[in-house]
């Protein structure tokens, strides 16, 4: 019962949040000052009153608000986000569909790498508090935290993509694969990997310190608990105290915070993909900004939000397996 209640509660919570985002998204583009139809046409040669009326009709903006809302919900449920403006009327969901895989590949792998590395460094520096490594990783974290990740990306791009001073230009300056090379199989995979090295490195390093710090603080808290003293008094070896008593308990709060921070990883992906011309959702976002493509922006905003909600939901579900107390309750 406990497990089922917990699960149902979390499903309901995720669903409610998604509903909020949907409503928010709907009103965001309608309550804003200015007419969305006029906004769409502003700055183009087609900007005249008749066209504005026509676009209004096409977008269904002449209908009453409740009806608009129902249409919007039905369209969203069918993943129909309308047509992209700057890509000459290509359906938005097709545009986005093409770009999902590169983002998942880049953000997915670098997130896993930075969480794994970050947690290890956090465990190490929390366990040996006050050591050189601890101070080193704290300084590093503070510094990386203060650095806009795209600036770090630009510097890496300049050093190893463009080549400056003593740095060799060893990696391609951007893109997903060598254009026009028509590679297949293994050589294609190597080509993609070669293009991915720099953005992967930048994203991993940019978020590693944060995870390390969360883990370190959580570990420090747990190490002050009585059961750790008890374990030591029983004569449990230090290594076992760390890995069997301290780390599992310290992982709980870390896990939740880590999952929550995923929302900001997507933010980082926007600028990093732009810097390295990585053809994913992030770069698409920047292109949509430049072209004032609001249909595309709206859909991208929805996708980014949905990704965070799903990440949180997964965190809650996995929490259940990590923390036996939730299951027993």
């Amino acid at each position: 019962m406990g497990t089922r209640g917990y699960l149902l509660g979390k499903v309901a919570q995720a669903f409610l949040t998604l509903l909020f985002v949907l409503c928010f998204n709907f009103f965001l583009f309608r309550v804003m000052p200015g007419d969305p139809a006029a906004l769409l046409l502003r700055g183009t040669s087609a900007f005249n009153p008749e066209n504005v009326e026509q676009v209004k009709k096409d977008l269904g903006l002449d209908k009453p608000l409740p009806q608009q809302f129902l249409t919007y919900m039905a369209d969203t449920a069918r993943l129909n986000f309308g047509e992209s403006f700057f890509l000459r009327g290509k359906p938005v969901n097709e545009v986005i569909g093409d770009k999902i895989w590169p983002t998942v590949l880049l953000v997915g792998t670098s997130t896993i790498a930075s969480i794994a590395l970050g947690l290890l460094i956090g465990i190490w520096s929390g366990w040996r508090r006050g050591s050189a490594l601890d101070y080193g990783s704290l300084t590093f974290t503070l510094f990386v935290y203060a650095m806009p990740e795209f600036w770090f990306g630009i510097l890496v791009l300049m050093a190893f993509g463009g080549g400056v001073g003593p740095f060799p230009a060893i990696f391609p300056t951007g893109g997903y694969e060598t254009p026009g090379a028509d590679l297949t199989g293994l050589s294609h995979a190597t080509d993609v990997l070669n293009h991915m090295v720099m953005p992967f490195f930048v994203l991993t390093v940019a978020y590693l310190g944060e995870y390390a710090l969360i883990m370190r603080n959580s570990l420090t808290d747990v190490m002050a608990d009585d059961f750790v003293t008890t374990a030591r008094a029983k004569g449990v070896r230090e290594k076992e105290v760390l890995w069997r008593h301290v780390v599992p308990n310290a992982l709980l709060p870390t896990w939740t915070l880590t999952m929550l921070s995923l929302g900001f990883v997507f933010g980082g992906a926007i600028t990093i993909e732009y810097v390295f011309s990585w053809p994913g959702l992030g770069w698409l976002t920047v292109q949509a900004i430049e072209a004032k493509d609001f249909a595309l922006l709206q859909a991208l905003f929805l996708i980014f939000s949905a990704a965070v909600i799903i990440a949180n939901f997964i965190a809650d579900i996995t929490y259940m397996y990590l923390d036996p107390r939730v299951r027993a309750a």
């Binding site: 650095m147 600036w151 630009i154 300049m158 993509g161 926007i270 810097v275 709206q298 965070v308």
Partner: protein, 323 residues
């Protein structure tokens, strides 16, 4: 990143127990007593703060940048960043004795632009933080003080805003509303308050149940009186520490938005400079002098605000004090 995901580390010094006794000769009026007590509390905080190396280092950097921003026209000649003026040099020049940080694609002095950019970045950071703090503190205090359905509703809203990917939201808002400094400030302000609201609510909840608040209520104090005279002064210091951390985040947000081309084209901030530089291919052509100054300025200012914020948080945050 937002406040809450990254926290001060290590245990802060334990401040002395608050001295509530007031010498008899000072017993003039209740207001005087309150102010005397607050002055002492402030002095105590300042004394503890001065002992923090991190806090003092951060403060030193901040003072430097504030001075640069205040005296920008004296430090760097504005004419060297006006492309129509003869004071500008050739385009894409590396650092020289005339242009200390080199020139950009229009021959403008990068040194002058960096110096004057400090005004924009600091203004945006501070004003956006004010908005964010006002919203966060208001929601936090109302939720914590009144409780009930109001709290449930407000906190649900806060959680939802925490979940929204702030950069995507800020991008959408900024592109809908247009490119101007005040809009950037507004957008950052209304996307960065949820962390504050949560912290303030927790503190308000704990202050609300303290005996002296209950006593004041029993004496017939109104909600308004309780909030302004008892809750707010107690939550205030925490809001202040949080404010300083939020400034760092606001400056980073401004940088990111401006880099994505959403900044005010007439008010060149460090983020806008990086946008110009990157769009002009400074990275692939190795023009490090164009990329390093604005970037380093951002890192230093954000680092300074973060260090001050951590140092203050360790003194003022009751949760960290106990450790």
């Amino acid at each position: 990143m937002r406040p809450g995901t990254i926290g001060p580390t290590g245990a802060g010094p334990i401040p002395p127990v608050e001295d509530l006794e007031v010498p008899a000769e000072r017993l003039l009026s209740p207001r005087r007593i309150v102010w005397a007590r607050r002055k002492r509390a402030f002095q105590r905080t300042a004394k503890t703060y001065r002992k923090s190396k991190m806090g003092m280092a951060g403060l030193a950097i901040l003072v430097f940048f504030v001075l640069v921003a205040l005296f920008a026209p004296l430090v760097a000649d504005e004419a060297t960043m006006d492309p129509t003026s003869p004071a500008t040099g050739d385009a894409y020049q590396p650092p020289s004795s005339e242009f200390w940080f080199g020139t950009d694609n229009l021959g403008r002095s990068i040194y002058a632009m960096t110096v004057h950019g400090s005004r924009i970045s600091l203004t945006v950071g501070l004003s956006a933080t004010l908005i964010s703090m006002a919203i966060g503190a208001l929601i936090g205090i109302f939720a914590g003080y009144y409780g009930g359905w109001l709290e449930t509703g407000l906190m649900r809203l806060t959680d939802w805003f925490l979940v929204l990917p702030w950069l995507a939201l800020a991008i959408v808002l900024a592109s809908l509303l247009g490119r101007s400094l005040s809009i950037i400030i507004l957008v950052i302000g209304i996307t960065s308050w949820p962390g504050t609201a949560r912290i303030v609510r927790a503190q308000a909840l704990s202050v609300k149940t303290r005996p002296y608040v209950e006593r004041a209520r029993a004496l017939g104090a109104s909600n308004w009186h309780l909030i302004t005279r008892h809750i707010l002064p107690n939550v205030g210091p925490l809001i202040f520490a949080n404010t300083i951390l939020t400034v760092a985040i606001a400056i980073l947000s401004e940088t990111t938005l401006s880099f994505l081309g959403l900044g005010d084209p007439l008010a060149v901030s460090w983020g806008t400079m990086l946008d110009f530089a990157f769009s002009a291919g400074a990275a692939t052509t190795g023009q490090w002098w164009w990329l390093l100054p604005p970037g380093l300025a951002i890192v230093l200012v954000v680092l300074a605000f973060t260090m001050c914020g951590f140092a203050l948080d360790e003194i003022l945050n009751p949760k960290l004090r106990e450790r």
